[in-house]
């Protein structure tokens, strides 16, 4: 990685091609030649977290019905009730009973505030730290993390996006090699990573051998580095197919009781897959849970969503903890904005978008559990302490990983960007 250099793709490609032809070896990791192996990366603080699991609550999660019930007035909570948690003096919504039992791992971010009140724009800012523009696509947070920290396991992608809108996981100006590898259904694993059933192992070998012979002759005619680079990827693909780490994508390998612990929902299984992937060294995993846009009938819709969230999140924290992985894995729950304290009767008790104040959470990765940062008024309508922007949240994620959050990466069009724009990390959350 050459920091602070214009990220001119063609130039970079040329350099890597030349380097490779000189060394005569292929060091290409899964998503392309420039995703460094983590060995190059040194965190700027000891005991930094190694991986991130980002749980994105898409649609705008109602803070008052989930994370921020403490000291809130009855009329804004509506039918939602508060319950006590494993952390003395802290409460959560009764919609999250299992998560409440993991509260000693969790720091609530109750001072969240964003400038964006529409879904697409809000999600963009939350996952990319910049306001959406028509002239550039900013890289997703996962792309930034892999760009700055490299991979932990060179056999696997650095960034995997489960049940996530591809636009949210795109590498933007960093290119496709930094995009999250998409997994639609957690149970289906990595697409095309197995030999097709219609081809026998012998035929598979034969075919690749024939192609290889063709290519060898071809390379004597046209000796071009990008062609050779493309050809080298075949060995990487085969290595991936045959490497033991591929099983990180296969949740069928998990015992039944583990699958049940996470809940049978797509989100729950996504959380299980996320844990497996992190265990196998994937740097950044995003799992998305949609359906939080509860304009209508909030008090039926939220508990339904919250059930999936509660199963998945609580299981994830519990499982990471007992495997001794929680200190190294930062779990973040994000959403694009909150929902109105006013309950809208004519929409069967719905809640509308509310960017002024909402809540997220962090757990693991060195974050003090059983705490909260930031505070809203008793209506959940205004941040009165510890205002935190999406950029601050992303800077905090970068801080947790020991990343240089001020490192500038220049887009191919010559514009400078950083992982969290001007966000400031909430260092007080950490030991």
């Amino acid at each position: 990685m050459i920091p602070n250099q214009p990220d001119e793709l063609s130039r970079r490609q040329l350099l890597t091609s030349l380097a490779k032809s000189a060394l005569g070896v292929s060091l290409l990791p899964l998503t392309g030649p420039t995703v460094a192996h983590g060995a190059d990366f040194v965190p700027n603080r000891p005991r930094a977290a190694k991986s991130v699991i980002f749980l994105m609550m898409s649609g705008g999660m109602s803070h008052l019905d989930t994370l921020d019930v403490m000291g809130k007035k009855k009329d804004v909570l509506g039918k939602t009730e508060a319950i006590s948690t494993s952390a003395t003096g802290m409460q959560l919504s009764a919609n999250l009973p299992k998560t409440a039992q993991q509260m000693h791992h969790i720091a609530l971010l109750n001072g969240m505030n964003t400038t964006q009140g529409a879904h697409e724009q809000g999600q963009y800012l939350m996952t990319r730290s910049y306001i959406m523009r028509g002239t550039i696509v900013h890289p997703a947070l996962g792309s930034w993390v892999v760009r700055l920290a490299g991979k932990r396991n060179s056999n696997l992608p650095g960034y995997v996006a489960i049940s996530t809108d591809p636009n949210q996981a795109a590498g933007g100006f960093m290119g496709a090699k930094y995009s999250g590898v998409p997994i639609g259904e957690p149970g289906q694993g990595l697409q095309d990573s197995m030999r097709p059933n219609s081809v026998s192992e012998a035929d598979f070998e034969k075919r690749l051998k024939l192609a290889d012979s063709m290519n060898k002759q071809f390379h004597t005619l046209v000796n071009n580095p990008s062609i050779r680079e493309h050809n080298n990827l075949y060995s990487d693909a085969l290595r991936l197919m045959r490497c033991e780490d591929l099983k990180g994508f296969d949740i069928a390998k998990e015992p039944t009781e583990m699958q049940e612990l996470y809940g049978k929902s797509r989100f729950g299984q996504g959380c299980l897959l996320a844990r497996r992937l992190v265990e196998h060294g994937v740097r950044f995993v995003q799992v998305t849970l949609g359906g939080w846009d509860t304009h209508y009938d909030n008090f039926t819709a939220v508990p339904a969503r919250a059930k999936d969230l509660d199963d998945g999140l609580a299981a994830l924290l519990k499982d990471l903890h007992r495997r001794g992985m929680l200190n190294d894995t930062l779990v973040v729950l994000g959403t694009e904005f909150g929902r109105t304290p006013e309950i809208i009767g004519e929409h069967q008790d719905g809640r509308d978008h509310f960017p002024q104040a909402f809540s997220c959470l962090m757990a693991g990765g060195g974050v003090h559990g059983g705490t909260f940062y930031g505070k809203k008024d008793d209506k959940g309508a205004k941040v009165v302490e510890g205002l935190t922007t999406p950029q601050d949240l992303n800077a905090t994620i970068g801080y947790a990983l020991g990343l240089p959050v001020d490192q500038v990466v220049v887009s191919p069009s010559g514009r400078p960007f950083t992982i969290a724009d001007k966000g400031k990390p909430i260092t007080a959350l950490f030991s």
């Binding site: 001119e8 063609s10 523009r133 996981a169 002759q217 390379h219 046209v222």
Partner: protein, 658 residues
């Protein structure tokens, strides 16, 4: 490498003629159909070759030997129609011994459906046109239809540009789909302006949106003076119908019936909520956080073009700012306008622009050299023939395809596109995503170019119920409704149950005038030809775009169309996985009806079978060594043939254009 020299002297006489024609080009803006004048095409192609040849002398390089018929054939099919030639197309050309067969083929390809398909993809990437808009609920189809129609009718570039910049009205109205250019960036008019200057003028002013440009000369005031032209224009505009429909599903007076609300919402997203109003104020207020020089926050600035040409002298809002702006942009005297499109089209045909990136031209100053044009004489001439032909892009490409420069052999060395290139041989490129997809489909589906999907004419599916007709049909019916008629229509639709198989309850819609949609999918007569082939195997241009993330096209770098020309031809491992475990085996090799098998089955001997496979996949016959390598497989029957197809499709030669 064999040295050849282009006929430098043979065309010397044409030089003066060319200069004259260039000088008089503006005067000659007549209706002459130069694209169909073989003499004009020939003359222009020769002039380009001459100027390129002078470039070789200056740079002391020798041209690579010309490409043989096979290589030229594969290249021209991919560049002009976006796919490889089918077995029979390749055979017909190679067997033809006519001396003018190349000119004839260029003529044929540029008038084919394949040409429309690839130009459509190109324009969609350039104009960032997508099937869905905003958060994915709104339809972007009218914009796509306008682009398709523009590509099919070979609309001139200045006319396309003017329509994009000035169109007003509802997007579904005839010829009004160009409003999608602004609709696409609803709520982001400033970003839209930054893209406009980049697409049409090659000037990057997006930095100046927030501050004075750090590297270029643009100031923040320059940006706002430009933005003033289109300011005040209204995206998502509509009349009483839109207002009525909006109220029905949204807000205090919404319809109490959730099912009806869903239908109103559908009408809004698919029909009424797509339009632009306002001609452009010509004035704009500087933003509250303005920090550039030469202006103050909230100060009113008047429209002024980046380069001299257009301005609004009055501090009062006007209503033709966009007209003024478009007139300035497309003026033949605006050198940037013709230079940009000349460079773009040159790159499309020749592989590399005369400067790169193709949309970034920086004028030199005392301190910086600015953008270097690799061959200014060629650039001058290209601009002159563009103006002479009234920005006829097909005629322009026809000239380029007919040059000897285009027909040179392959330069296999790595070429850094940012360094001036002499074009002494064709630089190697990986196929783009659409070319890979379409070429593979060519091997399976007969007459692939004519197999239509419904991306441009989607079915009307409301609340999960297919109304048995297209959105276009619905638009035709409802566009002039009064509010009362709209609600009557919704009342009817809400009780509609989809027809049971072939049933006659094709309902109320039957009684209504059935509109003939020119962009509609293949007719049932056509369908017989393609029955049994997977519905997904149609050309990329026929699919809703962008395709979903896990789709083959996206893996191979199809643009998400969020930014200008966002596609990528970089290789990565997920692509290789689809080549070895996915699409190639599952949808191509394992498809027993694939046309490629017909050609192979028709060949009698194993040798001829290998030859047929080579011609169909690599557009050439095998070498003796290759024949030796593959004969044992050909002798094994179908299973061996499958191994051959798979191996050829996984050969580097398949996916790289030479």
């Amino acid at each position: 490498m064999i040295r050849i020299s282009l006929p430098l002297r043979s065309c010397l006489g044409l030089l003066s003629a060319a200069l004259v024609s260039s000088a008089s080009a503006q005067l000659a803006r007549k209706e002459a159909d130069l694209g169909n004048d073989p003499a004009w095409i020939k003359k222009a192609a020769a002039e380009i070759d001459k100027r390129i040849g002078t470039g070789f002398q200056k740079a002391k390089v020798s041209a690579v030997a010309p490409a043989d018929d096979s290589r030229w054939l594969r290249r021209v099919y991919l560049d002009a129609t976006g796919r490889i030639p089918s077995y029979s197309e390749a055979k017909a050309f190679l067997d033809d011994s006519a001396p003018d067969k190349r000119e004839k083929l260029v003529e044929k390809l540029l008038n084919s459906e394949g040409y429309v398909s690839q130009m459509y993809n190109y324009f969609c990437d350039l104009f960032r046109a997508t099937s869905r808009l905003g958060d994915g609920t709104r339809s972007g189809v009218p914009y796509l239809r306008w682009i398709r129609e523009s590509a099919a009718s070979n609309k001139s570039w200045d006319k396309m540009t003017a329509e994009l910049l000035t169109s007003s009205g509802g997007g579904w109205e005839e010829g009004k789909g160009a409003v999608g250019y602004f609709e696409r960036d609803r709520g982001m008019p400033l970003d839209n302006m930054a893209n406009t200057t980049r697409i049409f003028l090659g000037t990057h002013i997006e930095c100046a949106q927030c501050h004075d440009h750090p590297y270029d000369k643009w100031k923040q005031t320059d940006f706002y003076e430009m933005a003033a032209f289109t300011h005040g224009m209204n995206t998502g505009s509509g009349d009483e119908r839109k207002k009525f429909v909006n109220e029905q599903y949204n807000g205090k007076n919404e319809n109490p019936d959730a099912k009806k609300r869903e239908i109103y919402r559908w009408l809004m997203d698919n029909i009424y909520d797509f339009g632009v109003a306002g001609g452009g104020d010509g004035v704009i207020k500087l933003p509250m956080d303005f920090k550039g020089k030469g202006g103050k926050p909230d100060e009113l600035v008047k429209a002024k073009s980046l380069f001299p040409g257009a301005r609004n002298g009055s501090p009062k809002p006007i209503d033709d700012g966009r007209e003024k702006f478009a007139k300035w942009v497309t003026d033949p005297a605006n050198p940037r306008f013709s230079m940009l499109i000349a460079n773009r089209m040159w790159k499309r045909v020749m592989g590399i622009g005369l400067f790169e990136p193709v949309d970034k031209f920086i004028e030199g100053t005392r301190d910086t050299p600015g953008t270097v044009i690799s061959n200014p004489a060629v650039m001058d001439y290209l601009q002159s023939i563009l103006r002479e032909s009234n920005f006829d892009l097909k005629a322009f490409q026809k000239v380029l395809f007919n040059t000897r420069t285009y027909a040179l052999g392959t330069n296999g060395n790595p070429v850094d596109p940012r360094m001036p290139y002499t074009f002494h041989g064709r630089a190697v490129r990986r196929m783009n995503a659409e070319q890979v997809w379409d070429s593979m489909a060519t091997l399976v589906v007969p007459d692939i170019d004519y197999r239509k999907g419904n991306a441009l004419s989607p079915s009307a599916v409301v609340g999960g119920r297919n109304l048995g007709r297209t959105v276009y049909d619905v638009y035709k019916e409802v566009i002039n409704f009064k509010p009362a008629e709209i609600s009557a229509w919704v009342d009817k639709v809400v009780t509609y149950t989809p027809a049971t198989k072939g049933g006659d309850s094709m309902m109320m819609m039957d009684s209504m005038m059935s509109a003939k949609d020119p962009a509609a999918a293949s007719t049932s007569k056509d369908a017989a030809r393609w029955s049994g082939y997977s519905n997904d195997l149609i050309r990329a241009s026929e699919l809703s775009a962008p395709t979903p993330p896990e789709h083959f096209l996206r893996k191979f770098g199809q643009s998400s169309r969020e930014v200008i020309e966002g596609g990528s031809s970089e290789s990565d491992v997920t692509q290789i996985l689809s080549l070895i475990n996915g699409h190639v085996e599952k949808n191509i090799v394992a498809e027993s009806k694939a046309v490629v098998y017909k050609a192979i089955d028709a060949a009698a001997s194993p040798e001829d079978k290998v030859k047929a496979a080579f011609l169909a996949i690599l557009t050439r016959y095998p070498t003796p060594a290759e024949l030796d390598l593959l004969l044992p497989e050909a002798k094994k029957g179908r299973e061996g043939i499958k191994n051959i197809l798979y191996a050829l499709l996984n050969s580097n030669e398949f996916i790289f254009i030479l």
